[in-house]
Amino acid sequence: MTIQFNDETFRDDYTFRNSDWAIDRFPFPFHEDSYMYAVNMEQHRGGPDGSVYEKRFDVDEHYVAEMRDRAMVLADDPLRCQSLPHMTLAGWDLLELIMVSKSEDYPDLFELHRDGDRWRWVNKPMGIDDSFTFMDETTLPYGPMEYITRQTQGDFCVLDQREDNLWMDAGIVTTQADWSLDFDIGMNFFEWHAPVPLAHEKGIFVRALKFLLNIQQGAPARRLNWTMTVNPLLDTSPENYHKWGVQKTTLTPENIGEKQHLRVELQTFFRLPRSNALVFPIRCYLCSFQDLMTKPKWGRRLHRVVRDLPEELATYKGFIDNRPMMLDYLSKFDDGLPTSPGVFPDTETEPPLQT
């Protein structure tokens, strides 16, 4: 299908909206009626037609607007994109992976023409047509990682692998769930995960790291993570928390359906060929509560998950104060009927809300 790109904002007047298509394919993260941290990883080998899992790098109706938002964040704060000196090769690896994947997966939107190391990249939605020399930084307007990720939805961490650990030695981070690349750069897997509650004690990070260290080229993996965001604000950074934090207090029973968003991250893991680095794209999807409630199964389930979520997790995810108001709203969409297993909305088979 051809994608109609939205002209929308993720700040100030918040004109961001999901079309019915985007709601149908929203990566609802709960496969059952409760949630706890787990080593929830699987192969990233496609998924149902039209789903966000189908392509290696999903492109959707928010693409152009998200890239505009990223450019604004970077103009305000260049520290959101950093690469330690030894990570340039991994940047080229990443540029190649994305250009090849997108031109193969979306031939109507992206073209890559290669003649030895003379490359031409055409990005139609963004109106870009650039020729450059692969592996020659002087022929691009930015470093290779920054160049390609200014044209790709989602944050990116590029991890150097050494000493049986992963090191966050490069990244571009403008749509994060409240963590700072500038602070975390140079840290290893256990250090940057230090603030996460409960998961260390459950041995989750030890097992997850083992899995990641063994990811092979051509066999990417994926997982989902989620949190809550008031207003469709992409840049929920700690850097700007003193500006956006107050928005959390603007929820009312009247506006919560529209303002409160479930924020889901589709996280993928790819081994890079030359550098042996691992790239970790973190793609953020937002969906308002009222749009989620159009799927009866998601309404029932979201209520149960939010209600039963351990306090440590609700605190860490930053919505403990708003939880009671969320539950008042969500309980109206939970009639107590059982839900089908799995994340998909199953609209054909799940009964409508009983009132």
């Binding site: 750069i185 840290m187 260390h200 700690p238 850097e239 107050v246 959390k248 207090t249 104060d321």
Partner: protein
């Protein structure tokens, strides 16, 4: 003086040990304030014959005692900032195999450790021992300014003036803990400050 027992903490926080004299031809000891005690505790004439001490007294009176140990080289600096180029130069000129000993406040140890790692010394060539003040070196996540020697939580960023709470999340690259605005969701509602471990 008894040593402070840090409570158990998250995985990005550094853990400090107790200095011990290690075999080696060259030793570099960098300390501030009560960190001098950790050096005095392991000093022997043999060790000192191969030791360079860089010391920042910060209002204490240990400098003479350290000088009396007769290290091959002794430098007394007025502040870390004033001493850092000397530390860098010393590290650059040193051979691998140098044994590095850091003692005193977290801010001193963190910054000096950073210099040593940047100069290519492996983690296991660097020993640390905390002594003295438990104040923290804090980075304001908002303006990125560093406030040294923070003893209370919350505190006011010395650069941008925001009220910040003291996190345990620690960056070795910055040699600093993270400070985050405490009244973002309720501007002006700042609880009274307490000592960091109180």
């Amino acid at each position: 003086m008894s040593k402070f027992e840090f409570p158990p903490a998250i995985k990005s926080r550094p853990v400090y040990g107790t200095l011990e004299a290690r075999p080696g031809k060259h030793h570099l000891m960098i300390a501030d304030a009560e960190g001098a005690e950790a050096i005095l505790a392991i000093a022997t004439p043999e060790l000192m014959a191969n030791t360079h001490i860089i010391y920042i007294p910060r209002g204490t009176d240990y400098a003479d005692k350290l000088r009396a140990l007769n290290p091959v080289q002794f430098y007394e600096g007025p502040s870390y900032a004033a001493s850092v180029t000397r530390i860098q130069r010393t590290l650059e000129r040193s051979h691998m195999g140098l044994q590095i000993y850091l003692a005193g406040t977290e801010g001193l140890m963190g910054q000096a450790q950073n210099e040593a790692m940047k100069a290519g010394f492996p983690f296991n060539a660097i020993q640390t021992e905390h002594r003295g003040s438990i104040a923290r070196r804090m980075q304001c996540v908002h303006c990125k300014g560093i406030t040294e020697d923070v003893e209370i939580d919350p505190f006011v960023c010395s650069h941008c003036g925001l009220n910040l709470f003291v996190r345990d999340h620690y960056s070795r690259r910055l040699a600093a803990y993270q400070g985050v605005c405490i009244d973002a969701e309720d501007p002006g509602n700042v609880p009274p400050s307490k000592g960091i471990y109180e």
